[in-house]
Amino acid sequence: MASLRVLVGCKRVIDYAVKVRVRPDKLGVVTDGVKHSMNPFDEIAIEEAVRLKEKKIAKEIVAVSCGPAKCQETLRTALAMGADRAIHVEIAEKEYEGIGPLQVSKMLAKLAKDEDANLFIVGKQAIDDDCNQTGQMLASYLDWPQATFASEVVVEDGDLKVTREVDGGLETVKVKMPCVITADLRLNEPRYATLPNIMKAKKKPMLKKKPADLGVDMTPHVEVLKVDDPPTREAGVKVESAEELVSKLKDVGCI
């Protein structure tokens, strides 16, 4: 039955456990010497693809990443988790700072066509920019259906039944393939890369491409003006009575 070729987008981001600091030039955050890892939602995406392969629904998993040279580390992790091969769209550091979901989704769309993908899974958003746009733009460029915020994916009669986490609760949709899915937190619990798999991953093929190969215009569309720390928390004020509390709340216009 295994027939699907699944592409999974992985982004290299600052590790979720790091205490992020603003750069002195206030145009970004400090990334030098800071621990980076795969975007947690992309780990979930890879895990879902690997599970589809274990269930013999997917026949090949291709992990893709767009960014500077270090993205290869992220792709190796994806390979160690069970992806079969990887594609790295290499973008120089300076150029990478200027682009976002708009350009990345164009690159992924071209790759999806070139690789004849049946399914593209990405994390719902990256934890560094929280854009939550790449999956949706990707589907649009490909003119494919999309099922976002997936918390469960089931194959049913050749289509996919996806349960989505939405504000009101859970919504189930049926999508025909080829389609785009964006992975949400509760879709699965990603496996750890084990030593033997890390060893095997070193031998799996990793192809390098450039944005020009994919015909994508890298002109920045967004300019970051300023990055600031959130304001430091002020000390609280103790009040003596409920009446005083009410009057203070009135003073600041809360009630």
Partner: protein, 496 residues
């Protein structure tokens, strides 16, 4: 200061020094815990050395640092300080030595024996701002961490390397805190305890000097060079020096894990199964026993529905073939002992569901009576003695008013009775302590220990003497007196 008669045994000498400085420290303390006895100018000296944001005398902060997860009462230290580097720790130690102020190092406060509880007139040294993971060496399977790094923090950092730090005491303790208490956990049967997994420690000594117990930057897998200072400090519970950095062994993340649960009609048959599994040499990675009282508590807390009977939770790790073989062999032993309902799971979600009950044991027990605190026993005996000791313990509990579910790392011969006590009811606490002491003495009598993994802390000082013997404890005190002549490192803990 009173003149004291000159006494020649170091133990008594230590005690007189201790008494005299305590007298000075406590001389101006009022009964109100919110006041402190350390003079203002001394507090200001700490602030100028560490930065005023790294020193606190607020009551809430002091109370937080005056207790751990045990039933021992909260005793707030006078001030809490946060050194951000080993140099600052040295300065704190030198200051405390100059003014004869006792020091209590503090990690995550998850201890179970009161070792990190405050002392009147003391400085609590909160190590958590020193939270760098200094160096990972994936090829050599070792990592060096500062004292504020917790084990979950470390394992999260390591997750892409294929390595992990498997020692799992349940709580998210700091790695150096685990060194100080010689921690262990559910995985010890396979991976050992801290004693086997610490390669090097950076320690600040009483005179403010810094040592690396195995030498600076040394991380060989084995060594015969000089005295084993590393293991001297492992388990010293903050009484010999302040640990600021640890180099520890890592292990490969297992490729495959299978978890299993099975129930038995009697405690005896469950524990017999354990001893047989160990005697077969099966390298099981977790083997945990829960008695029916504990299962009932876990059912209630987690809203699950396990059969209320003595239960074994097991985990096998390794490659696919190995775990399957191990699981099959153990299934046969279970059947041989009349066990039933052998359920097993390989899938991570299923496994987590199976183990949820075991992991929530402490909180499930406390939830039986909201507001209750837990007194945990920690006896560890040779495996062959385990069945008789657990059965005798259950008998004791049957004849007592205290609720005491049992959970145990039975593969090591270690089990805990989590006694549920009302902290305001002295009778209950006394009854729980009586039972705990009875269990400890029974364990000592069969060649075991009163504390397999939690430490001596505040509550087991007398048992330490009974277990090790007077001469042994006197030797320990000699070492203490040599390394801490003024008796300022966590006084009142470990020794009477």
């Amino acid at each position: 200061m009173q003149k004291t008669a000159r006494l020649f045994t170091t133990g008594l000498q230590l005690r007189t020094i201790h008494r005299s400085f305590l007298k000075r420290a406590l001389s101006s303390v009022s009964e109100d815990q919110s006041s402190i006895s350390i003079a203002d100018d001394v507090v200001n000296t700490f602030k100028s050395v560490l930065g005023s944001h790294n020193v606190s005398s607020s009551l809430a902060v002091r109370e937080h640092h005056g207790k751990d997860e045990s039933y021992h009462k909260c005793v707030p230290p006078d001030i809490v300080v946060w050194p951000e580097s080993v140099d600052k720790v040295c300065e704190v130690v030198k200051l405390c030595s100059k003014y004869s102020i006792p020091m209590v190092p503090f990690g995550s406060g998850t201890g179970l024996e009161g070792a990190a509880t405050g002392i009147r007139g003391s400085v609590c040294i909160d190590m958590t701002k020193m939270d760098k993971i200094v160096e990972v060496n994936p090829d050599d399977f070792d990592v060096t961490v500062e004292s504020g790094v917790t084990r979950n923090m470390l394992n999260s950092y390591l997750r892409d390397t294929g390595l992990w730090f498997p020692i799992d005491p349940g709580a998210d303790a700091t790695v150096c805190g685990m060194c100080a208490t010689s921690a262990s956990g559910t995985n010890a049967v396979r991976y050992g305890t801290m004693r086997e997994n610490v390669m090097n420690l950076q320690v600040v000594l009483a005179n403010g000097s810094v040592i690396d117990t195995a030498g600076k930057g040394k991380r060989s897998r084995k060594t015969s060079a000089g005295y084993n200072l590393t293991n001297l400090f492992v388990g010293s519970e903050g009484t010999l020096g302040i640990i600021t950095k640890a180099t520890i062994r890592l292990h490969g993340i297992p490729e495959s894990m299978v978890s299993a649960v099975c129930t038995f009609d009697t405690v005896q048959s469950a524990v017999d199964t354990v001893t047989q599994v160990m005697q077969c040499g099966i390298p099981v990675s977790r083997i945990e026993f829960l008695d029916e009282v504990m299962i009932d508590a876990c059912n209630k807390y987690n809203n699950v529905d396990y059969k209320i009977a003595p239960t074994l939770f097991l985990e096998f790790q390794g490659n696919d073939k190995v775990v399957d073989d191990q699981a099959k062999t153990v299934a046969e032993l279970v059947e041989y002992n009349g066990g039933s309902d052998f359920t097993w799971a390989k899938d991570v979600d299923e496994r987590n569901k199976l183990w949820k009950a075991r992991h929530s044991a402490w909180y499930s027990t406390l939830a039986l009576r909201p507001g209750a605190k837990g007194l945990s026993t920690d006896v560890c005996v040779p495996i062959s003695k385990l069945p008789e000791v657990i059965v005798a313990t259950k008998e004791d509990l049957k004849h007592s008013s205290v609720i005491g579910p049992i959970v145990g790392h039975v593969g090591d011969g270690n089990f805990h009775v989590f006694m549920n006590v009302d902290p305001e009811n002295q009778d209950e606490i006394d009854e729980a302590r009586r039972l705990a002491e009875r269990m400890a003495r029974r364990a000592i009598a069969v060649g075991g220990t009163c504390t397999g993994e939690h430490g001596i802390g505040l509550g087991k000082k007398q048992l330490l003497i009974e277990e090790i013997g007077e001469t042994g404890v006197a030797t320990m005190k000699q070492i203490k007196a040599t390394l801490d002549p003024k008796g300022l490192f966590n006084p009142d803990k470990v020794f009477l």
